[in-house]
């Protein structure tokens, strides 16, 4: 007993459609409230804004550690970048409200999110999260310079070099080259007050909670920014003023990619749904094409003009 083409096709359809639907709906993407996995050897920074005196020693040390020329474009004299830019991986900014209430410095650098939006959007994995240390770093060889990372990062950290024919993306990579030599990141090695410290993320988190416990009411909402925000980050923040004022938006415990790309991820899982759609389209078009060709040849006979298909 042989199988006709129709039987074969309908058999494949009968098996394929439910399989594709199952893959699409049942795919194990992160559900709301679920925690992102933390890398084994996750390292990070703890920045306590209440201890920072705004000396900017870390800004200079960062440029030196990363072999970047000092950004003196503001007044052609001082290294005083107003924000992160193509020469600045790390910057100290001041929040000073008009009404004279509490002011605060803030150190801005890459948050090294546990589920980074920049890496989720990067088309050829130029931005990549190290599975061991959790450091998010940039590879020149894979970057096409599309600048999607500057759009996706909720903290607006990666910066694109606008001048020159060979532009680079600049962001804090937690001084990976110094860590390999057993040194601490540039910024933490020079901080005079210990406002920014380096260590394993779990240790830093305990330290931050200890500080909150020992001086209740000192810190905003008595919480550590980055413990769960945006799915958790490896740079942790303590502050007296609301985090939003320091440029750290309230993003909720779910990471941005998990929140926004849930269906995108499901639709393209194993390419199951597109493949089934394609097979269905081929069948429909095969039939329309046959009818269309017959009509065209009929018209060819009537008019004596060559069919245009």
């Amino acid at each position: 007993m042989s199988i006709t083409r129709r039987q074969l096709i309908s058999g494949i359809a009968a098996a394929g459609v439910p399989a594709a639907v199952a893959v699409t709906v049942g795919t194990d993407v992160l559900k709301a409230g679920e925690r992102v996995e933390i890398p084994n050897a996750a390292v990070g920074l703890l920045y306590d804004a209440t201890m920072c005196i705004g000396c900017k020693a870390c800004v200079a040390a960062c440029a030196e550690a990363n072999d970047t020329p000092p950004d003196t474009r503001r007044d052609n004299l001082h290294q005083a970048p107003s924000d992160l830019n193509d020469l600045t991986r790390n910057v100290i900014k001041l929040y000073k409200p008009e009404d004279g209430s509490a002011f605060s410095f803030v150190k801005r650098q890459c948050m090294h999110c546990l589920d980074p939006a920049c890496a989720a959007g990067c088309p050829f994995q130029a931005l990549h999260k190290d599975p061991e240390s959790g450091i998010v770093s940039w590879t020149a060889e894979n970057c096409i310079g599309c600048r999607y990372c500057t759009i996706t990062c909720p903290y607006h950290v990666p910066r694109f070099q606008w001048a020159g024919f060979n532009p680079r993306v600049t962001k804090c990579e937690l001084c990976g080259h110094r860590l390999a030599k057993g040194l601490k990141p540039g910024c933490t090695s020079v901080c005079p007050t210990g406002a920014v410290i380096f260590g394993p993320r779990s240790v830093l988190l305990l330290e931050a909670k200890q500080r909150i416990k020992s001086s209740p009411g000192r810190y905003y909402q008595d919480r550590v920014y980055g413990e769960t925000d945006n799915g958790g980050t490896q740079a942790l923040y303590l502050s007296r003023v609301p985090f939003e004022k320091l440029g750290l938006p309230e993003l909720g415990p779910e990471s941005v990619p998990a929140k926004t790309l849930r269906w995108q991820r499901r639709f393209y899982q194993y390419f199951a749904l597109p493949a089934v759609l394609y097979a269905g389209l081929v069948q429909v078009i095969r039939k329309s094409l046959k009818g269309h060709e017959e009509e065209a040849h009929q018209r060819e006979k009537e008019t004596g003009l060559r069919a245009q298909l």
Binding site: C122, I151, F165, L289
Partner: protein
């Protein structure tokens, strides 16, 4: 009603039965040269951009990382160029047979819009030499909407869309020289075998990347104004592309009919307008329901630029849809054409908004395209128009009544008599058999 009846009567004699080149007009004229100048300026500025970098030539900055090259030439113009997708699905999958006469226009406009968009995408990329990763699938980030767009768009434009545009070229070769005919017919036969697979890919791929273009801005989160930021952004982007591309294909065809004085087949145009108006009202319904359910409606009544853009967009699209609906009753091409223009313009604003008009990275951020940026953008649009003008004058793209084909044949017979020397008409070119019927043929026809 009398005008409507007259319109129907006129339509009957204008039935589009064949695609005919725009004959008798020179390809090079003043308009063509003007476009050529724009293209050359853009090419020179492109060379400058490759050396100087993006900063000196564009208004892009750290806050607005994407300028009009991506947000207008790619995001907006490929939506206008989705005709091969939207009209094609209506014609081939839903079997709206009348739309087959618009297919060549749809395929051509799509190919040109995508090709020019992709060229500019390469210029916009800061490190374009790294695009070669596109051939190594294990380097793709499969879950990135941008990877999906970049990979899918290039494959679509280079394979299915290009292959679908081959028939008019083969047809010209077939009529050009009888010695080429066996070869051309062989290639056509081979192509026909692969057609179902190619056409199916030509509908799947744009469906994927046109929706992924919307998914791009999902990751930007709250920096996109709540009137636009929604989990339905991919579907809305795809929907906008369908009615905009209907407007582009039918509108361009109508414009060509006006410019080159060809009859308009109101049967076909009515069918296209009916589908477009349904698409428009379905899309508007989805958009408004989504805004209502997310509770973003109050922001539409704030007195700011976002509300202004929103109402402009909604009114343009709804007004266009209304005009299209009304033109269905009178079979009048004028409100139909205006309806296409309005709805497509509204759709263009919609596609442009999430990345630019309604994108607020921070309160101080500003973006306005630099002169060089605008000139390059215009130059690559001009390149597409240039390609269109050459193609409709050299290939059988525009639909026309059958009489137009016979007029073309006699035009070439009397205005270009020298081509008789080449034996051009000996083999029944254009279907006009000039040779004396032999006795055996006369006998068989009797």
């Amino acid at each position: 009603m009398s005008t409507a009846a007259a319109n129907v009567e006129r339509a009957a004699s204008n039935r589009w039965e064949r695609n005919v080149p725009v004959y008798g007009f020179p390809v090079v004229n003043r308009f063509f040269l003007g476009l050529l100048v724009l293209v050359l300026i853009a090419f020179i500025l492109t060379a400058y951009r490759e050396l100087a970098g993006l900063g000196p030539v564009s208004g892009m900055n750290d806050a607005y990382g994407w300028g009009i090259w991506k947000t207008f030439n790619v995001m907006v113009l490929t939506a206008l160029g989705s005709g091969a997708f939207a009209v094609g699905i209506a014609a081939w999958v839903f079997r709206r047979k009348k739309l087959h006469s618009l297919m060549r226009m749809a395929l051509l406009t799509s190919f040109l819009a995508y090709a020019c968009g992709l060229l500019l995408l390469g210029i916009d990329a800061g490190r374009p030499w790294n695009f070669y990763w596109i051939v190594f699938p294990w380097e793709w980030n499969m879950h990135s909407p941008l990877a999906e767009v970049a990979i899918c768009m290039s494959i679509y434009a280079m394979i299915p869309l290009a292959v679908e545009n081959i028939p008019p070229v083969l047809e010209r070769l077939w009529y050009f020289d009888s010695r080429l005919r066996p070869g051309v017919e062989l290639i056509e036969k081979r192509l026909h075998y692969f057609y179902p697979y190619i056409i199916a890919a030509a509908y799947l791929l744009p469906g994927m990347h046109q929706s992924s273009l919307g998914a791009l801005m999902l990751l930007a989160g709250e920096r996109v104004h709540p009137l636009w930021q929604t989990p339905w952004l991919p579907l809305l982007y795809l929907g906008a592309a369908t009615f905009m591309s209907f407007g582009c294909v039918a509108g361009t065809t109508m414009l060509c009919c006006l410019v080159w004085k060809r009859g308009m087949d109101m049967d076909v145009l009515d069918e296209a307008a009916r589908i477009t108006s349904w698409l428009i009202f379905g899309w508007l319904g989805l958009r408004l329901v989504d805004i209502l359910f997310r509770g973003a409606l109050p922001t539409a009544f704030h007195f700011d630029r976002f509300a202004g853009v929103f109402w402009l967009e909604v009114l343009l699209i709804a007004g266009g849809g209304f005009l299209l609906m009304r033109s269905l009753k009178t079979h009048d091409p004028q409100p139909m054409f205006v309806g296409y223009i309005l709805s497509s313009a509204g759709g263009m604003i919609y596609r442009f908004s999430p990345t630019t008009l309604a994108f607020r990275p921070n309160p101080e951020a500003l973006y306005f395209p630099a002169t060089v940026e605008v000139l390059v953008s215009l130059g690559f649009i001009a390149l597409g128009v240039l390609g269109f003008l050459v193609a409709v004058k050299r290939f059988a793209i525009l639909p026309a009544p059958l009489s137009e084909w016979h007029d073309m044949a006699s035009y070439f017979r009397f205005r270009r008599p020298y081509i008789r020397w080449t034996g051009y008409f000996k083999y029944g070119h254009f279907g006009e058999d000039e040779t004396e019927p032999t006795t055996s043929e006369a006998a068989s026809s009797d």
